[in-house]
Structure formats: C-alpha cells, structure tokens
Symmetry: C2
Subunit: 142 residues, 2 copies
Amino acid sequence: MRLTSFTDYSVRVLMYVAMKNGELASIREVSGIYEISSNHLMKVVHLLGKGDYLETIRGKNGGFRLGKEAKDINIGELVRYTEDDLNIVECFGNKDGRCALKEECNFSNVMEEALAAFLSTIDKYTLEDLIGDKKLVTFFNQ
Amino acid sequence: MRLTSFTDYSVRVLMYVAMKNGELASIREVSGIYEISSNHLMKVVHLLGKGDYLETIRGKNGGFRLGKEAKDINIGELVRYTEDDLNIVECFGNKDGRCALKEECNFSNVMEEALAAFLSTIDKYTLEDLIGDKKLVTFFNQ
C-alpha cells in the first residue's frame, strides 16, 4: 500500500517551493534537486497549477511559486486531489462489480473506516507543518 | 493508494473458507467463485498456508480450510503479513535514500502517523467480524 509517486512528488514540490518563500522555481531546478524526470514533474506542476496550489508564470523568466500560503494548504485535501485511486480494495466504489461477496461483505466497510482514519490524520496537517521553520539553505546548501 | 491484489485476495479467500465451516475448499472452486486466476490464487494459498492461516491437505481429495478459528485471525496482522509494501511514500524505510529532504522532512512522519491510524483501525477486526453470521449458501447460492 503506497501513495502514487504523483502524490509523493506533489507534496515534495510544494515543500520545496514553500521554502523558496515566493521566489520562482523552475522545472529544471526541482527535477535536479529531487532527481526526478522533468516530464513527470511537468505533469505534477500542471495539476498543482490547475488546483491553485501553484501559481505558474510563463515565459523565459517564468517558473512557479506557491499559489496560496503554506498554512492554508491542507495535506489531506491535497492528497485527495492528487491521488487518483483511493480504492483501498478492488470492490471500493464498484459494489456492483465482479466480486461474489458484493455488498453483503464487511471487508470494504472495514477498509473504508481505515481509510477514513488515514485521511483524518493527514487532515490535521498543513504544508507549513511539513516544513516547519526550515530554510531552503539548510536543506539544499545553496 | 490501494492494497495489493495479493492482500485483497488473501482476505477474500479466508472469508470464503471460513464460511465453509471446516469443509475443504479447492483452488478451482475459489478461482471460479471470485473469477481470479488459479496461478495467482495458488501463491496466495501457499503463503496463507505458510503463515498457518490455512491448513492445506495434499492429494486428490485434498484442499484447504482455515488453519485457525476466524475469531483468532486479526485483519491488521493478516494485512501486515500479506502486504509486501507498507511504504506509503518512497522515502519510508529508506531515509538514507535519494530524496534531498531526507530526515529533516516531516512528510514521512505524518505519513507514518496516518499509516498507524489505518492499521490500528483494522487491528480492531477479526475474520469473524468480516463474515458475521453469514452462511455460504446466502452468498453463493450453492
């Protein structure tokens, strides 16, 4: 059980950008820092832009920065936005599906309860909590 | 985020076998009921046998049945046993890994807390809770 790398990168991109404190970041820079493909990263930045998590500025001197304050970015909300599959087990959201047990089974109910516990834990945190008072220079020796 | 199909099938195989109340089940029977590949199912049954969740009996009239009582099979324990990857994010268990943030980052701590909430929820349930007092005949019209 793991989050998609898309979600993983989304959080990490936002953490990095938050630590730049309003200064623009570029795809090249972030893909270098995290050693991730710029293709994949562009998709991440695009979706985060669409969701107003990032403000993206086009052009030669363009780049991206946080679209809202770190304290206003809730991690639970963000994960629900970036994670395309929160169906812990196959039958989730597919109760007419092919499992012979179907809705008479308590397995999916238990898993729904567990997923709710997972999400309500991350609902307690904001992007600010993830980075605390850390400065970019501490992390990346720039 | 989802459990592996291996875990999903493990739980469903145990539910089915529990409802047979001591009668032997066969690979062919279970793969037919759930419409899953018998190859994959054999691996599931093998691992569940190794972990004493199933008692497997070889030979022409062989098969498998529960290796312990349904009320003694804890779902949290089972998922920890069958799920080979509980690393919600890449850096879990790999804090020396390639992420530039490494151990200075709170992301993995928050995810560890969320995973613990997930697991402690399923720790409250046993296989008996999943099947309740349901009879095999209700489920499968046999």
